[in-house]
């Protein structure tokens, strides 16, 4: 039985969540092919050096530069004719596309798989991760997205052949207008070993800079609560939680974050959690390994200045 892994490219780099998808696929199938949807065939070259792949199938079309979902889902549904599994990393890229493929194939996809128990039995979170469900699929094809914090990230070391597919392009019903990307020199949030995350307690966009300064000092990524994003301290792509990104770093420092269920959903699997909060009853303090009950402004300054 064979699996197709949907590769998400960041530029021409394979995303970390796609690497996790390859690991997950290796627990399901003997043959794993990758599918790259792109606007230039050269973008698939890094994919071909991933370990464990049979063939890298590439579909090249202008529309695919910005993942036009109507086009992408139609193409994937067609390629899936010869595969049992479609595995993709949990990201907004895959979450946009995979369910629509499910509709075209008349299959019920499975979101956010955290563990593979057998060829058709999986564990996935419900209720912001407060409940873990073991589910069994009876569909003839199985489509899933997998949590990148739950599977090893497959490494380079292969040399798969690249095969360009020429398929008829499904009709696009939307057009790309623009992309406002956040630029940052810091480590990427979902793969960083350390994260300094700020909440409403920071009070303003200006003071949120304390989070940036501490992150720089610790070579950490920056994260945020929904309240911090809603208040405009930082952009949406830094939000951690049930409806933001899911992270599991070695160190998560939560500064002025109360620890609502929806925030904990995104970070509770971190190895070491530090809470900096002046409210000892904040749920985050119950979650933490280390608690510093104090005014965050003084604490942040002390941490930044410490040598």
């Amino acid at each position: 039985m064979s699996a197709l892994v949907l590769i998400e490219l960041i530029g021409s780099e394979v995303s970390a969540n796609s690497r996790a998808a390859i690991t997950a696929a290796s627990q399901l199938a003997d043959t794993i092919d990758a599918l790259v949807l792109t606007n230039a065939v050269d973008n698939a070259s890094q994919t071909s050096s991933l370990a464990g792949l049979g063939t890298v199938k590439v579909i090249v079309n202008e529309e695919l530069e910005h993942a036009c979902v109507e086009v992408a889902s139609g193409l994937i549904a067609e390629v899936m004719a010869s595969y049992k599994y479609l595995v993709a990393g949990s990201s907004t890229y895959s979450k946009n596309i995979v369910p629509r493929v499910g509709a075209l194939l008349d299959v019920q996809p499975i979101s956010d798989v955290c563990e593979i128990k057998s060829k058709n039995t999986f564990v996935r979170p419900l209720y912001a991760g407060n409940i873990m469900a073991t589910v069994e699929s009876s569909d003839s094809k199985i489509l899933m997205t997998v949590r990148s914090t739950s599977f090893e990230h497959s490494q380079d070391g292969g040399s798969a052949s690249i095969e360009e597919l020429s398929l008829t392009m499904p009709e696009s019903q939307s057009t790309f207008v623009s992309l406002q990307e956040s630029q940052s020199e810091r480590p990427e949030l979902t793969t960083a070993a350390r994260i300094v995350s700020g909440g409403r307690g920071l009070g303003s966009k200006e003071d949120f800079a304390l989070i940036d300064q501490l992150a720089d000092k610790l070579d950490a990524a920056v994260g945020a609560s929904r309240a911090a994003v809603d208040a405009g301290f930082i952009t949406n792509d830094y939000q951690v939680g049930q409806t933001g990104k899911v992270v599991a770093p070695k160190l998560y420092i939560a500064v002025g974050i109360s620890g609502a269920i929806q925030h904990l959903a995104g970070m509770k699997d971190s190895e070491v959690i530090v809470a900096i909060n002046n409210d000892p009853d904040a749920p985050m303090c119950r979650m933490a390994d280390l608690i510093w009950k104090t005014d965050l402004f003084g604490a942040m300054q002390e941490m930044i200045d410490h040598n």
């Binding site: 979450k95 979101s111 419900l126 469900a133 069994e136």
Partner: protein, 253 residues
């Protein structure tokens, strides 16, 4: 333009979900229930469009057991014109593919051109139904949207999507399915007079069985378990010096 807003009744998002070990299901008996927060945002956006004179009719649809009517009443009280209740048996475990097929039938019957729905239901966290629906109907799709603008001629919409790398803006042809994210708007509360008024607004009940859709589960839940959190040391520190030395000992710096 008619707007359909599928809404779901879920466990109140601020309530801790508990497992009933015997039945291996999430215990919703006597639990506090609410409209899925993302669906409230979808309702709000539809109402704003109508208030701008750009929507002819707003219709909320919900699929579930009898109690679901409460949630539809809330949408009516917020201001939608009418509601459609698709009634299911209590044991039925509907999945996004089924919900999509049911909604597709209703949207075709109503000849609606625009659908606002939540990006995710906070009970099962599937984040699938809108995408599935768009595939079934072959409508254009805009997921995770934080901004919505209808073109002057009403033939297309421009949406901003919250994606992992930032904000993507796309233009969608109409008919379109749009799934909303948290930052699109701040939903209104229903006022008391409107709650009273809602009682006399039209609410149609459709028996699921009359729609002739195969709702055999494709994915069966074998068991559910409350996810325990890791035992944490919970040690207090009082200075940066102390914190750093603990972190060094733990080997995470």
């Amino acid at each position: 333009m008619k707007i359909i807003i599928p809404i779901k009744r879920v466990l109140d998002p601020y309530t801790q979900a508990r497992v009933d070990k015997q039945s291996q299901t999430v215990d919703l008996n006597n639990a506090k229930m609410a409209m899925n927060p993302f669906c409230e945002i979808a309702v709000e956006e539809a109402l704003r469009l109508q208030e701008d004179g750009k929507a002819s009719e707003t219709i909320a649809v919900s699929i579930g057991t009898d109690k679901t009517v409460d949630t539809l009443r809330t949408a009516l009280a917020m201001g939608v014109d009418r509601a459609i209740f698709v009634k299911t048996g209590s044991e039925l475990n509907l999945q996004p593919l089924h919900v999509g097929k049911i909604l597709a039938k209703i949207i075709e019957r109503e000849e609606a051109q625009l659908v606002f729905m939540g990006k995710q239901a906070v009970d099962n966290d599937n984040n699938q139904t809108g995408q599935i629906l768009s595939g079934l109907l072959n409508f254009s799709l805009g997921t995770f949207i934080s901004e919505f603008k209808l073109s002057d001629d009403g033939g297309s919409v421009e949406v901003s999507r919250e994606i992992d790398s930032g904000i993507e803006t796309r233009k969608l042809n109409i008919p379109a399915i749009v799934t909303v994210d948290l930052r699109l708007n701040e939903p209104r509360y229903a006022s008391l007079p409107n709650i009273m008024k809602a009682r006399s607004k039209p609410l149609e009940t459709i028996e699921l069985t009359s729609l002739d859709i195969d709702v055999t589960p494709r994915v069966k839940v074998l068991s559910v378990e409350e996810s325990g959190t890791k035992d944490r040391a919970a040690k207090e520190v009082h200075s940066a010096q102390e914190l750093y030395s603990e972190l060094n000992q733990l080997g995470v710096l």
